[in-house]
Symmetry: C2
Subunit: 417 residues, 2 copies
Amino acid sequence: MASGVVKLLRDEAERLARQAGRPLRLVQVASRTPKPGIDLAGAAFSTDLEALRQAEVDVVVELIGVEEPALKLVGDALRQGRHVVTANKAIIARHGNELLPQARRSGVALGFEAAVAGGIPVLGALRSGLVANRVDTLAGIINGTSNYILTAMGEERASFAEALAKAQELGFAEADPTFDIEGIDAAHKLTILAALAFDTPFRFSGVYAEGISHITGEDLEYAKELGYRIKHLAIARRTAAGCETRVHPTLVVRNSLLAGVDGVMNAVWIEGDATGPTFYYGPGAGALPTASAVVADLVAIARGDALDWRVGAEDQAALPIEKIHSAFYLRIPSLDAPGVFAEVATILGQYGISIEAAIQREAAVREGAGSAAWVPIVIVTAPVAEAAIDSALDLVQKMPKVVGRITRIRVAHFADE
Amino acid sequence: MASGVVKLLRDEAERLARQAGRPLRLVQVASRTPKPGIDLAGAAFSTDLEALRQAEVDVVVELIGVEEPALKLVGDALRQGRHVVTANKAIIARHGNELLPQARRSGVALGFEAAVAGGIPVLGALRSGLVANRVDTLAGIINGTSNYILTAMGEERASFAEALAKAQELGFAEADPTFDIEGIDAAHKLTILAALAFDTPFRFSGVYAEGISHITGEDLEYAKELGYRIKHLAIARRTAAGCETRVHPTLVVRNSLLAGVDGVMNAVWIEGDATGPTFYYGPGAGALPTASAVVADLVAIARGDALDWRVGAEDQAALPIEKIHSAFYLRIPSLDAPGVFAEVATILGQYGISIEAAIQREAAVREGAGSAAWVPIVIVTAPVAEAAIDSALDLVQKMPKVVGRITRIRVAHFADE
């Protein structure tokens, strides 16, 4: 990413100067390790961050990634009265409530468009273009790694482990992919999107995050048969009871725009009360797409039209996941005996859970083996409270004829279906 | 649209004041006809535009639509040192080269996000979020009327005339639909998009516009069979030879994002050299979506982060349509006689035009009637210069066995296929 920023500033200097109304000059670069291969266009280089603090610069660009020493660098720069541009979603999601007021007090800009969805200018859209709207629904595919894995599992019938290995081989996943596949990275980004959409403070601790490692090729196939695709969605919804913010694998209707976002691409769906449904799509990561967002923030600062951020003022409660209503996809591994489906349906019915669609395979296409034949029962429910599905599935899981762990995946619907 | 702006300013006053950092107060409204049914939240009303000039206001919002008296109102307001927000694509496309410098000289903002693609903040994306990019390809569905008509023709097998009548009945088309169906409205919008994307002056006179009234249900069916859909696209491309700006019916690959934009929805596809392909989708018209963009510009002015527009500085030539290369869909009504296809292929070959795909119906599904049986020959060519296809089709049209007017529709490809 840093190399992308240097490349743009160096190779596009003339065009950027025209857009910014003045030259954007790279003065000082600091990195833990020397970068002998990169042409810094005359900028000084140091392996000591202190060099940045000492340098005479107008703007500090922070592309460290991890939380420390990035947070300290950004905080110090703002206190010094320097503008800051950062791509660091973690420090904005976790410390934005202090950093934004700090920037305001110092009368400087804090740009972080690059922190969410890389090359897609979606934060600007929320803060500026859609600002007249009350946003009640926002949903995004905002982690390229997990989207790549789910896409590869679907297209190449790869297992989760195989798809992850391939993502790592291609550089789309880290050696330790936890942040991406468990939804932490997406939760950081969703924290930022939700704060802007709902005009609330940043509330990372209120985000529910669930990963994709339990999704199987079987689930992708059944979802397809039912007219859905499975995506690792980040969803923010405002309801009368409070704001939902959640990251989890999700069934989305196959012909919806979000369902068509494949590979490492990102997209965000935003429903405003005035503008109606809008959708933003593009590369979510990579050196140049992210650099595009970083340099856009630099140009805005130079031009004097950087967005005026502030911490949101609405104080609507964050809803815990237990309070959320969703439809559910259920895959219940069960013995191929008469009456199993009826028994499951009865238990669901006792908790007021309707069945919207179901698949039960004939003996001819039974899968698995063992002492007794078994088949999965696959069900899509009507929307139901999490507490109700929890209680019902506790009982179903204990049925003697249920022979494996039940898989449950939430279903979400959007206005473009 | 004006009623939508009044509604937002009135009903969302508190939220907007928080976002803007100050109240947005409606002071004076002028309209040719009295509007007794609208609650103006205390603003004065006049049927004389002069009242606006006299009123003590910071910002003039122009939502007249037609070119005069809008142009004079906007010009006067800028000269008076007032900020202006307008939804008027015609005056920006035709007079932006004078209006933007006028605003700059007066030190005021001129907001026109509402002029293109209604509720989609795509001008902001180009001027701000994507500003670090060199954009070489942009394509949009930016006229809801023509997109509604093509969608209805495809879904309901309606003729162009039937679909237009239905659009008029539903309020999606004007009594005189010329501006929309002939591509003039889209050409105004494309002028603005291209100027921002390529950093050139506004050059409406350089835009080629072709309407959709010659498209038939047959063409939609053949396109579908060939794996395409037909959309009324506005395309801007930068090539070594110059900038193409053109509005015409276009075959796009069926699973591409643009192909999925139906009804009155709008969308814009933008390829930046740093960010890669990005895509923006939402409602293109309607009172509230457009008001969303108008009020967003008002908030930005109040907040002090309105975009700093200026006339583009690059002076790349506008390419006339004759100089453009496209693939073509051709439907050639011809007698069902041996050797017709071969004769057509020979003529195309003489002009270096390759055939990529073709459909020729068997006698069993022949259509039409008359003294001799006839069938259309349908061809998709490889990309070719307009001049070559013109010359080749002149000859094909004169073939004795070609019994009707040849339909030709350009084909465009994008990176998401």
